[in-house]
Amino acid sequence: MNDTLFDKLGGDGAVNAAVEIFYRKVLSDDRISDFFDDVDMDRQAAKQKAFLTMAFGGPNQYSGMDMRRGHAHLVAKGLNDAHFDAVVENLAATLQELNVPQPYIAEVAALCETTRNDVLGK
């Protein structure tokens, strides 16, 4: 078997299980909640789904350029490394809550790390 990280985590089902837990954590985290405090929670949740799918190594169409463009308005509002770390931390805590084995969580964190410069517009 040569499963991808996304398959090992449980694919779409894992994303669906994680999205509300993750979004609750992010909204409750004073360090970053302002970035996510959209009037339209449903639309925001859909975007978190896109984020999680990508972070889990799943199928996505985003390029580094897309990540740059997609977060540029947040960088303009002061998005920085500390915020980035907080998101990854919340993601790890979410996966722990779902009893995902530690090595997989490390893989997810490493994958996120590859997007840092693009997300932060560096």
Binding site: E20, Y23, R24, L27, S28, D37, M41, D42, A45
Partner: protein
Amino acid sequence: MPNLTFNGDTYACAENQSVLDALTGNGVSIPSSCRNGICQTCLMRSVSGTPPLDSQNGLKETLKAQNYFLACSCHPLEDMEVSLPDAGSARIQATVHSIESLNHEIICVGLHCENPLEYRAGQFINLFKDATLGRSYSLASVPAHDQHLKLHIRKVPDGRVSGWAHHNLKPGDVVEISQAVGNCFYVPGHPEQPILLIGTGSGLAPLYGIARDALEQGHTGPIRLYHGSRNPQGLYLVNELCALADCHDNFSYTPCISGDAMPADGYAQGRALDVALADIGKLTGWRVFLCGNPEMVKTAKKKAFLTGAAMKDIYADAFTLAAA
């Protein structure tokens, strides 16, 4: 730059400009309210040219099939010839049957439709003062129960449509309304699931419909309604709701007063949202309906989610006022 044709005149639509902005920017009157793809007041039909998919979000399939679209959310990719909705297919004639006062600022308007309107309690219709001015009002009536459509209209200071409804509308008048719109209604299934309803002001309208609809459909789980106002005069249907609670063990009604004037027993002190959360605690597993003041709805949606309600179980209608 795509061209828009309306009533024989042609207008240019700039990139990133909506059909609504392009037309109103040229002095054409097109009804609109939320400008956000929610209320469907700006419904238009494309006579030629395909409306972009985005502009048809939330429309009924029958309307989509006839190339209806929302002007505020339509960024045309090609030339379009557009028109306002035809009477008959998208707009319906209704006769004012009754007008009653519910409190000092809210009236109940009863409407009779020749052909019964298909709707779910809690959805809303757009009421048109004239061809180009319409506003959304929620349905407080229950199809199986009530003979007429019932709207609770609060008088907004200098409000064009609400003021007209309060001062000019009288029984016998014929008005145009849209079909029923919106996703804020009771869906059968999970009859044991607890339901929380929170509303402020005329936000009681859809909740009054939804609560009675759920009871009608045999809901067995608890149904808890919290209606909030700054002062006791702002509440209404108090007796009806107390009576409803007397007849149904699983239904409870809590009137909430957020201001200082605390009346006698039977009222809770505080904002409806805070009172409800203090009573209930965690909302894991609850179905939640939130209607009325947009700030309240926004805060409540977030709090309901953070205290455990699943996103799919939260239904909300913010009574957003149109921009001046």
